[in-house]
């Protein structure tokens, strides 16, 4: 069983056991425009909920990526570093950013489900 949850910073996290796979949402990529560069957190590093966990750059500007959940980075996705355009074409599947070992699963409670996120994204406008 896996579940997907969403943050107000437009990240998604897919939870399988104590492993979370994190990326940015379709809505985020539409706001950002064409993504041309991505920087990911190092494997083995610890990231804190709502803290910096990488950067995406579009043709327009650089934007920070935040992690919705604290944990230790187990893996990051070389495919999107090599071809950042994949983030635009398949943001919620192939173009995941990093996987982490979840430190405190209760942090997941503060995140939105799909329905809540879609409503939030729509209301947040741009």
């Amino acid at each position: 069983m896996s579940e997907v949850k969403y943050s107000k910073e437009h990240e998604w996290i897919k939870v399988e056991g104590d492993v979370g796979t994190i990326g940015i949402t379709q809505h985020a990529t539409e706001m950002l425009g064409d993504i041309v560069f991505v920087e990911l957190p190092d494997v083995g590093s610890s990231v804190e909920k709502d803290g910096n966990a990488g950067v995406v750059e579009s043709t327009k500007a650089a934007s920070d990526v935040y992690t919705p959940i604290s944990g230790e980075v187990m893996e990051n996705n070389p495919v999107i570093v090599e071809d950042p355009g994949k983030i635009n074409s398949d943001p919620e599947n192939e173009a995941w950013f990093f996987k982490l070992k979840i430190k405190d699963s209760s942090e997941l409670d503060s995140l939105m489900n799909k329905e809540e996120y879609d409503k939030f994204a729509k209301e947040s406008g741009n």
Binding site: G33, D34, V36, F37, V55, T59, K60, V81, G85
Partner: protein
């Protein structure tokens, strides 16, 4: 202050533009296909740019006007042919740049195309320098539409016959629906193309004809990546009152015979900088990885001493990598010089490179 809209605003909306405020105008940054697609489409086909926010300044006068304008601009205007255009600058007396512009000789005077953010200030400065001796019209009844890219000549020629006969950096009057348009073969993308000065009331129907013939709307986002790949300066980035044309590596735009005798505003500093060398100079920058160094990124030499700053930086879709321009101390301006760019607290390697990043394909001498 209320945000201004151009005559093509509705057309932008119909084409699903994302808008930004630019110099007090609501302008399209991109349309639904995105900056990279728009950029590539312009290089391969033809793109339409609404540049109606730019100033179209008509100054009417005779030989006295030519003499007076030569006291301002570093150009040989006496020998400028009718309907020929020159790239130039409005400078202060230290040769700092108030604006960069294109000036075209018309039968009754000159047309000067000014940057949107500078046009009102330029008008004041020029009115004062010319002591209100000449009729000057900063014409907001006209729109300005650029069409750029290799297929543009074929597309525009279907609508305005004989436009294909224009040489690069020259213009002429054409008739469209019984009104006069002024068309120059010019642009700011590194591609062959045209800029069309047209009444506001005809701007939309004219642009729709261009679209019907296969051109596409392109936003300011792609305009910026196109001009940066072409190594062209943008006011407020490479050019300001703190920068001279010599520092910006634009000596080519100053008429040679004006350099001998001066007599234009800022000429002392321009001539001195040519003689002694400018302390800082504009360079092209190629970062080694995929990292983008944006405006204000600090530039260091290999010994980690600060030597300058990036003024424009983006991803170049046609060169498929990051590109930037900036200013460094003269001694570090040679091509292939290794430099470091500080981005988010870390220093990354880059090289000084020649400009443009993307080779131009202007049409010269079709006649």
């Amino acid at each position: 202050m209320e945000i201004k809209k151009t005559s093509l605003n509705k057309l932008h909306q119909d084409n699903k533009a994302k808008f930004v405020e630019f110099a007090g105008y609501e302008m399209p940054i991109q349309y639904s296909s995105g900056i990279i697609e728009e950029h590539k489409f312009t290089r391969a086909n033809s793109g339409i740019f609404d540049v109606s926010h730019m100033g179209q300044l008509f100054i009417y006068g005779d030989d006295n006007l030519i003499n007076d304008l030569e006291k301002i601009f570093p150009l040989d205007l006496k020998n400028l042919k009718l309907n020929s255009s020159k790239y130039s600058f409005l400078m202060n007396d230290k040769a700092g740049v108030y604006d960069d512009l294109i000036i075209t000789k018309l039968d009754k005077g000159f047309l000067i195309i000014l940057n949107a953010a500078c046009k009102d200030n330029d008008f004041k400065i020029l009115s004062s320098l010319l002591k209100d001796k000449y009729k000057m019209v900063l014409d907001d009844q006209r729109s300005l539409i650029a069409i750029q890219g290799p297929k543009s000549v074929e597309i525009l020629n279907k609508i305005l016959k004989a436009v294909a006969d224009l040489n690069f950096m020259s213009g002429n009057w054409f008739t469209y629906k019984d009104q006069k348009l002024y068309v120059t073969r010019s642009g700011y993308t590194g591609e062959d193309g045209f800029e069309i000065s047209i009444s506001n009331e005809l701007a939309e129907v004219f642009t729709k004809e261009l679209l019907d013939n296969g051109s596409k709307m392109i936003g300011l986002g792609a305009r910026d990546t196109l001009r940066l790949e072409a190594g062209l300066c943008l006011y407020g980035h490479e050019l300001s009152t703190e920068t001279t044309p010599i520092e910006a590596n634009l000596k080519w735009a100053i008429s040679k015979d004006r350099l001998n005798n001066g007599g234009f505003i800022g000429s002392d500093n321009v001539i001195n900088q040519i003689k002694d060398g400018a302390k800082k100079i504009r360079i092209g920058i190629k970062p080694e990885g995929r990292l983008i160094a944006r405006e204000k990124t600090k530039i260091f030499n290999e010994n980690e001493q600060l030597i300058g700053e990036v003024t424009s930086g983006t991803f170049g879709p046609s060169v498929n990598g990051p590109i930037a321009m900036g200013f460094v101390d003269q001694e570090f301006s040679k091509k292939e010089t290794k430099i470091l760019l500080e981005v988010r607290g870390k220093k990354y390697p880059a090289n000084v490179c020649g400009l443009p990043f993307y080779k131009k394909s202007y049409v010269k001498g079709v006649n």
